[in-house]
């Protein structure tokens, strides 16, 4: 998994269908070399989560995903004990008759009753890619906990002992900036802001991710989407994911060239707000006439 330059990283990621610019390739390369977590921020639908998947695929490592949400705590991120099975085990011992009490107790905290949650799983399976998705949704306390794990790459379980990663996992954190992350966590990480791609790159992305879309249509779709992003009056400008959805939707309807009827029928793939739908219909009308 040793890659010798940012270009090599870009190439490997490109082979999996994830096209990135030199900035992202360099940051990814640094994250791998310096063994630091990578913190990705940016508009929704610019490929933050997809990067982690691409890194895992290109390095041939398992991807462990931890989806954060409000109220997530250590038992959902690290490990938990399987209580019902422990009780069953006790009952079984009892039925078998006369087990030694200390022995019985010891057998309760066995690795087979341990439910490994994503972080522990990533440490056990390492080398692996650990994706901590939408970390901004979790609470401050969880961030502090994450910081502890990310700085030592080890977890101690009082009943079993310490689990340490042989090689630190590649960690990718994504955030939608619904709240400012704590500085301490940010300092541990390499930071990168992912922007919407330019015209040429987005066409390439559509071509590589959705090969069924014709080159002609891809170029046309991306042109329209980029035009819409530039307008700046949409509630939620379409991301790359929406571009892909729309291009596919048009292809499945057998559209070779965008016209107003086909566009109206498939608009739900591109914009998700009623206000936007009206604006886009209007804009498309102008664009297609021009």
């Amino acid at each position: 998994m040793v890659l010798e330059s940012p270009d090599a990283v870009a190439e490997r990621l490109g082979a999996t269908g994830y096209l990135c610019d030199d900035a992202l390739a360099t940051v990814t390369y640094l994250a791998l070399r310096m063994q630091r977590p990578l913190l990705l921020e940016g508009e929704p639908g610019t490929g933050k989560t997809a990067l982690a998947e691409a890194v895992a695929e290109s390095l041939d490592l398992p991807l462990v995903r931890l989806q954060c949400y409000e109220g997530i705590d250590a038992t959902q991120a690290l490990y938990d004990w399987d209580f019902p099975r422990q009780i069953l085990h006790l009952r079984a011992l009892e039925a078998a008759g006369g087990a030694d009490v200390t022995e019985a107790e010891k057998s309760l905290y066995d690795a087979r009753f341990l439910l490994a949650r994503p972080v522990l799983q990533a440490l056990q399976e390492s080398p692996a890619v650990l994706l901590v998705d939408e970390v901004d949704r979790a609470d401050d306390e969880f961030e502090a906990f994450l910081l502890e794990v990310l700085s030592t790459y080890q977890v101690s379980i009082p009943e079993l002992g310490t689990v340490r990663a042989a090689t630190p996992p590649v960690v990718v954190l994504t955030s939608n900036r619904t709240r400012e992350l704590h500085d301490a966590l940010k300092r541990r990480c390499l930071y990168h802001w992912i922007d919407h791609p330019g015209l040429e790159r987005e066409v390439e992305i559509v071509r590589s991710r959705a090969p069924e879309v014709s080159a002609e249509l891809a170029r046309q779709v991306v042109g329209v989407v980029q035009g819409l992003r530039e307008r700046g009056d949409l509630v939620k400008p379409p991301g790359v994911a929406e571009t892909l959805d729309w291009a596919r939707a048009l292809t499945y309807l057998g559209t070779a060239e965008i016209d107003l009827a086909a566009a109206s029928a498939t608009l739900g793939a591109l914009v998700k707000y009623r206000e936007d739908a009206d604006r886009v219909r209007h804009a498309l009308d102008q664009m297609l006439r021009a």
Partner: protein, 366 residues
């Protein structure tokens, strides 16, 4: 790597710090490490290494780009001296006319103020106060004790009635070697609801900016989930400044961050920017949003109405605070207010300490 290179890079981090990017020592070390990995001969690589290690948000990226260009130039040849004045983004401090700076004259009459004066001062319009009175009022802000609004959480707490807490019950029975034990109960927990304060700092509100920021400081100190923004011609995130315990320091820090004191008002546009960049993603979601503004809108009132409607759809409750509301003969006739009013849950006054106290009540019940 040779030491000269390191020194140059460290000088660059100092220039960045002067420009307002919070570069800490360990960040600087990370930068050196990253450039060591990438090599120093490639300027683009140095640029990217710095971006990844020294910046912490999109606000930093602009400053970083400016300082990098000023420091290393576009041609890749390091200049002997960093042009610091280029790198520091233009800002003006808090206007001196507020008379609220640190210290201030501790005049004798201030100390000998009687209780009845205090009561009068509580009801005076803050925009009409003299410097000495403002100084006294600043101290009185400490008497405001805002209680944050609450929301129920997804997580449960142990309680003596409510739902059965199955895991806890099982755990208790496990301790008794599997014998059924007492039943544990739980209920949904409560936590402070997020609050977002949007403070208009345009020219027409300049008399109130100081007091409103003090109020924001009180809110921030009372609850960990308060986010403060100033709006005018731009949107500035000042939560970090408000976290400082000392109100004077908090105000000075805010003054250094906000670039558009006493400018114009384009509420509609700035609100849209806020919603696009922060609000809709989650910051305003389920939050109590308080807008402090007099509603003098230079932009299109229709846009303001549209954005207020959007804000209300994501927020839990929208409160509009208008300093003129509590005054005699006030009618909500400004176009901005007319456009925004249908989308507000509460429309309250906010020109004196007494009305601020009422506002904290409204907010805590939200």
């Amino acid at each position: 790597m040779d030491r000269g290179g390191d020194e140059l890079l460290l000088a660059f981090t100092r220039a960045l710090r002067a420009a307002g990017v919070p570069v800490t020592h360990d960040r600087a070390r990370g930068f050196l490490e990253a450039t060591a990995v990438l090599g120093l001969d490639d300027q683009r690589a140095t640029y990217l290494a710095g971006r990844a290690t020294l910046c912490a948000g999109p606000d930093d990226l602009d400053r970083y780009d400016r300082v990098f260009t000023a420091f290393f130039g576009r041609d890749g040849l390091p200049r002997p001296r960093p042009a610091q004045s280029d790198g520091v983004p233009g800002f003006s401090g808090l206007p001196d006319t507020d008379g609220s700076g640190d210290g201030g004259p501790a005049e004798d009459d201030v100390v000998r103020a009687r209780a009845s004066d205090t009561e009068v001062l509580r009801h005076r319009d803050v925009a009409t106060l003299s410097a000495a009175e403002k100084h006294r009022l600043a101290g009185m802000f400490a008497t405001l004790r805002p209680r944050p609004p609450l929301r129920r959480t997804a997580r449960h707490q142990r309680w003596h009635r409510g739902q059965v807490d199955a895991p806890a019950t099982l755990r208790a029975s496990l301790r008794r070697m599997g014998e059924p034990a007492e039943i544990a109960w739980r209920r949904r927990g409560v936590r402070p609801r997020r609050m977002v304060l949007l403070i208009d700092v345009s020219g027409s509100m300049s008399g109130y900016a100081d007091a409103l920021l003090r109020l924001a400081h009180r809110f921030t100190q009372a609850s960990p989930s308060v986010e403060t923004f100033t709006v005018g011609t731009r949107v500035t995130h000042v939560t970090r400044a408000m976290r400082s315990h000392d109100p004077e320091r908090a105000l000075v820090a805010a003054g250094e961050t906000v670039p558009d004191w006493s400018g114009g008002t384009r509420l509609g546009e700035t609100l849209r920017f806020f919603l696009d960049r922060w609000g809709q993603r989650g910051m305003a979601r389920g939050a109590v949003v308080v807008v402090f503004s007099d509603g003098w809108e230079r932009g299109d009132p229709a846009l303001l109405g549209e954005q207020m409607a959007r804000l209300r759809r994501v927020a839990h409750r929208v409160v509009w605070v208008n300093p003129h509301r509590g005054k005699d003969g006030y009618e909500p006739v400004q176009q901005g207010v007319l456009a925004a009013l249908p989308h507000c849950d509460d429309f309250v006054a906010g020109h004196s300490l007494a009305t601020f106290a009422e506002l904290t009540e409204v907010v805590s019940r939200a």
